[in-house]
Amino acid sequence: EDQVTQSPEALRLQEGESSSLNCSYTVSGLRGLFWYRQDPGKGPEFLFTLYSAGEEKEKERLKATLTKKESFLHITAPKPEDSATYLCAVQANSSASKIIFGSGTRLSIRP
């Protein structure tokens, strides 16, 4: 069964303190792995798609990386406005369009 596990559930950092969020996945042939940001009371905002092991994508203070079993979302020198829930999701080759989401990591950045 396709599965996505994110850790930690919650992470509190000081402004400027870099860290990484983990997404472990089990899927029968990966079509794509996605990262989303979700602010309270809003829909998820698309950040990145990764397709193959070794691929990296960057956007401002965020960098996503992918291996055959997991993905990391690295956040460098975070600011309070980076506080949000970060969701990881995968799409299998066999699933047509279905995306399976992890439970998310709630990130809080203290000024």
């Binding site: 829909g43 698309f46 969701l87 369009s97 989401f101």
Partner: protein, 112 residues
């Protein structure tokens, strides 16, 4: 990407009633999806709605409870029928662009 709007943004409903949620997209899309996000939880796919065909429901979701319409390539509705407090949740529509999905702002439903 896509600009997606949902109506209503939130509602409080009585047990046993039904609510229809509307989803409008700013451009034509083939695939639209409806998700549920229960408090503190991640997203669960309810169904996939392609224009011109019946919606495809995920395990645990049935058409009688969550009927979906997809009359054209920019619009869809999800009805939550015969509501109970367990239906209190955020309902989100999304659209597919290539392999990616983009989400609307959600409808926060509270059933009393």
């Amino acid at each position: 990407s896509a600009v997606i709007s949902q109506k209503p943004s939130r509602d409080i409903c009585q047990r046993g009633t039904s609510l229809t949620i509307q989803c409008q997209v700013d451009s034509q899309v083939t695939m639209m999806f409806w998700y549920r996000q229960q408090p503190g939880q991640s997203l669960t796919l309810i169904a996939t709605a392609n224009q011109g065909s019946e919606a495809t429901y995920e395990s645990g979701f049935v058409i009688d409870k969550f009927p979906i319409s997809r009359p054209n390539l920019t619009f869809s509705t999800l009805t939550v029928s015969n509501m109970s407090p367990e239906d209190s949740s955020i309902y989100l529509c999304s659209v597919g662009r290539g392999h990616e999905q983009y989400f609307g702002p959600g409808t926060r439903l509270t059933v009393t």
